[in-house]
C-alpha cells in the first residue's frame, strides 16, 4: 500500500520527462475532403516544433501501399512529398515526437476525385471488436433505462397518486440511465478512435481525435453527450423541485437521442439506406427502448416498491405494450427486407445469423408478453398477493429477455449487412477495394 502511494505521489510530482505536448492545428489536404487534383505534398501544421520520426507521414491506399516520401521539418510544420496518386481513397497516418518525449499521432482520410472515406474506415482499422459490442450494449441499456423510467412515470403512471419514494427511485433510475449513456458513449467513442488510430492505450491518450468528431459516429457522440447531460440535469431538477413537468422534455430528448445509436452505426451509410430506413431505425430503437426499459423499471421499482399501484400500472402497460410491439415489428420487418434482399442471407451471412438470434429472442419476449396480456391480465382482478408476487418475477424474466435482445441489436448496429447484388453496389466497393464507406 505504501509502495503504491509512493508511485502515485511520484507520478503526480514528476508527470513528464520534459517539455511540450504538440497539437496538430491544420493539415493539407484537409480532413475528409475530395481533391480534384492529386496532392503533391502532405503538410501538418503544429502549434510548436516537433521531432521527426522515420515514416512520420504515410499516405496509404486501399491495399496499404505507401505513397509518401521521406518527411522533413519546416518550422512548426512537417512536410512529406507524395508520389502521383490515382483516383481513389487514401489514408494519412502521422506521428511525431512532442517535446515531452510523447509520440503524438493521428489519422485522416481524403479522396482523389472520389469522396473521402470515413476515418472509421481508414486503412488498417480493424472494425468493431467484442469489447465494442459490449460497450454499445451498455449504451443501449443506459438509453433504454432512461427512456423506460421516464416513460413509466409519464405514460403508465400518469394521473395516479405516486408515492414520493417511488418518484425518487424513478428519478434515480432515469438519472442512472443518462449517466450510463454518457459513460458508455465516451467509451464507445474512445474504442472507435483507438481502432482508427491503431494505437495502444498509452499512446492513444495523446492521439488527435479531431478527425473522429467529423465522422457520423463523432457527430452522434457529440450530440448524444450534450443531450444526455441535459437529460441528467432535467431529471435532477425534476427530483429537486418535485416538478414532474421537467421530465417531459427529458423524455422527449431521450427518445430523439435514441436515433444516435443507428446514426453512429453502419445502418446510416450502408447501400440502400435512406431517410426512410433511418426513420424506421429510430422508431425501432426508441419503441424497443421504451418497451424493455419501462417493463424492467416496472418490475424492479414499482412491483415491490409500490404494491398499491401494481394492478393499475400492469393494466396500463398492457395497453401500451401492443402499440410499441407493433412499431418494433413493422419497422424491424421493413429494415430486414431492405438490408437482407436475399432470404438465404439470414443463415449464410453473419449479419443474418445475428438477426436470426435476435428474432428468436424477440419471439420469446413476445410469447412471454402474450402470456401476460392474455392470461395474467384477465386474472388480475381476482389475484391474491402471492399471485402478484409471482407475476413480478415473471416480469423480471421478460425484462431479461428484452435486455438480451438489446445485446443482439448492439451487435447488429456495429455490423455491416451483406453486400447487395450487383447493380446496387456503390462506388466504394468499385473504387476502394477495402470496406470503405463514402460518407465522411
Amino acid at each position: 500500500m505504501r509502495r503504491l502511494s509512493s508511485i502515485v505521489l511520484a507520478a503526480l510530482v514528476f508527470p513528464a520527462a520534459a517539455s511540450a505536448h504538440a497539437t496538430l492545428q491544420s493539415t493539407t489536404p484537409k480532413f475528409g475532403t475530395e481533391q480534384q487534383r492529386a496532392p503533391a505534398l502532405i503538410r501538418l501544421h503544429f502549434d510548436q516544433k516537433v521531432k521527426i520520426l522515420p515514416g512520420a507521414i504515410r499516405v496509404l491506399n486501399g491495399v496499404g501501399r505507401n505513397f509518401a516520401g521521406p518527411s522533413r521539418a519546416d518550422g512548426t510544420d512537417v512536410v512529406a512529398s507524395v508520389r502521383p496518386l490515382k483516383l481513389g481513397s487514401y489514408t494519412v497516418r502521422w506521428r511525431a515526437v512532442s517535446a515531452d518525449s510523447h509520440v503524438v499521432s493521428g489519422v485522416w482520410t481524403f479522396g482523389v476525385r472520389v469522396p473521402a472515406p470515413s476515418v472509421n474506415d481508414a486503412y488498417g482499422a480493424g472494425g468493431p471488436t467484442g469489447g465494442e459490442h459490449v460497450v454499445r450494449w451498455l449504451w443501449f441499456l443506459g438509453i433504454a433505462l432512461a427512456i423506460g423510467a421516464l416513460g413509466l412515470r409519464l405514460i403508465v403512471l400518469r394521473g395516479l397518486e405516486v408515492p414520493r419514494e417511488l418518484d425518487r427511485k424513478i428519478a434515480v433510475a432515469a438519472g442512472l440511465g443518462a449517466v450510463v449513456a454518457l459513460q458508455s458513449g465516451i467509451a464507445a467513442f474512445s474504442l472507435r478512435a483507438e481502432d482508427a488510430l491503431q494505437l495502444p492505450f498509452g499512446k492513444f491518450l495523446y492521439g488527435d481525435l479531431s478527425p473522429m468528431t467529423a465522422t457520423r459516429f463523432g457527430t452522434a457522440f457529440v450530440t448524444m453527450t450534450l443531450g444526455f447531460a441535459l437529460v441528467l440535469a432535467l431529471v435532477y431538477l425534476a427530483w429537486l423541485l418535485d416538478r414532474v413537468a421537467y421530465l417531459v422534455p427529458a423524455f422527449g430528448l431521450s427518445l430523439l437521442l435514441a436515433g444516435g445509436l443507428s446514426f453512429s452505426g453502419h445502418d446510416a451509410v450502408d447501400p440502400g439506406s435512406s431517410w426512410k430506413t433511418e426513420l424506421a431505425d429510430w422508431v425501432h430503437i426508441s419503441a424497443a427502448s421504451l418497451w424493455i426499459g419501462a417493463l424492467a423499471t416496472m418490475a424492479a421499482l414499482l412491483w415491490f416498491g409500490a404494491p398499491q399501484l401494481r394492478r393499475q400500472a400492469f393494466l396500463r402497460f398492457a395497453r401500451l405494450a401492443p402499440v410499441l410491439i407493433a412499431l418494433v415489428l413493422s419497422a424491424g420487418i421493413y429494415l430486414s427486407i431492405v438490408r437482407l434482399p436475399r432470404l438465404h442471407d439470414l443463415w449464410t451471412e453473419s449479419y443474418g445469423q445475428v438477426l436470426l438470434v435476435k428474432i428468436g429472442l424477440v419471439c420469446v419476449a413476445l410469447l412471454w408478453g402474450a402470456f401476460h396480456h392474455f392470461v395474467v391480465r384477465p386474472a388480475l382482478d381476482r389475484a391474491d398477493a402471492g399471485f402478484l408476487s409471482r407475476i413480478g418475477r415473471s416480469l423480471a424474466g421478460e425484462s431479461l429477455v428484452g435486455i438480451s435482445v438489446l445485446l443482439a441489436a448492439a451487435i447488429l448496429v456495429d455490423s455491416r449487412p451483406p453486400a447487395r447484388p450487383i447493380g446496387h453496389s456503390d462506388r466504394s466497393t468499385l473504387i476502394g477495394g477495402s470496406a470503405a464507406t463514402l460518407t465522411p
Binding site: H21, Q48, A193, L240
Partner: protein, 194 residues
C-alpha cells in the same frame, strides 16, 4: 468554429470566481443573513451545477487529445455532482451532511486531472506552472470542504474554502497564455503572447 481555449478558460474562471465570491460573502455575513432572501441560498450551488453542465460541451468539442477529453469529462461530472448535492441539501431534499463529502471528492478528482493531463514540467511556461499549481492547490485545499462536513459553522473553514475557490479562479484566468514563469520559457513553448 470553436472559441479559443483562452476564452473558454476565462468564461469558466469568471463562473468559479462568482462561486468563490458568493461563498466569501456567506462566510463574512453568516448563513442566517445570507439566506434571508430565499434565492440566495441556491446561488452558488446552482452556479456550480450549471458550470458542470456547461463543461460537457467543452469535453465534446475540445478533442485535440484523448487525455484532455477525459479531464474535461471528469470535471463536468464532479462539478455536477458537488453542485447537485449542495442544491439538494439547501433545498432539503438531502438530509445527511455526509453528502458534502462530494466537495472534497470533487477537489481531489479535479486536482488529479489537472496534474495528469498537464504533460509539461513546472517551468516549461506559465500555463504549465499554473496547471501544476492548480492541481496541487485543489488536492491540498480538499481538506477545507472535508473539515466543513463536521464543522459546517466554522467561519475560518468557510473563509478558507471560499478563498481557495477565488484563488483557483485567478489562476484559471491566467493559465492559457504562452508566457515565461519566473523568467523561464521553453524554446518549444512557442511565441510569448505578451
Amino acid at each position: 468554429m470553436l472559441p479559443h481555449a483562452e476564452m473558454v478558460h476565462w468564461a469558466f474562471a469568471a463562473g468559479i470566481l462568482l462561486v468563490g465570491l458568493c461563498l466569501l460573502c456567506e462566510a463574512i455575513v453568516g448563513e442566517e443573513v445570507w439566506q434571508m432572501r430565499a434565492w440566495r441560498k441556491y446561488l452558488w450551488p446552482g452556479l456550480a451545477f450549471s458550470l458542470g453542465v456547461l463543461l460537457w460541451p467543452v469535453m465534446a468539442f475540445f478533442t485535440n487529445s484523448s487525455i484532455h477529453m477525459y479531464a474535461h469529462g471528469s470535471w463536468a461530472e464532479v462539478l455536477m455532482l458537488a453542485g447537485g448535492t449542495e442544491l439538494g441539501l439547501v433545498h432539503g431534499r438531502l438530509r445527511s451532511p455526509l453528502w458534502r463529502l462530494s466537495w472534497p471528492l470533487a477537489f481531489v478528482v479535479t486536482g488529479t486531472a489537472f496534474i495528469v493531463h498537464e504533460q509539461n514540467p513546472w517551468f516549461f511556461a506559465r500555463s504549465a506552472f499554473l496547471h501544476h499549481l492548480l492541481g496541487w492547490t485543489f488536492i491540498v485545499a480538499a481538506v477545507f470542504p472535508l473539515l466543513l462536513v463536521w464543522r459546517p459553522r466554522s467561519a475560518v473553514l468557510q473563509s478558507c474554502f471560499a478563498l481557495m475557490i477565488v484563488t483557483v479562479s485567478v489562476m484559471l484566468f491566467s493559465d492559457r497564455d504562452v508566457a515565461p514563469i519566473f523568467g523561464h520559457l521553453s524554446s518549444l513553448a512557442g511565441t510569448p503572447h505578451r
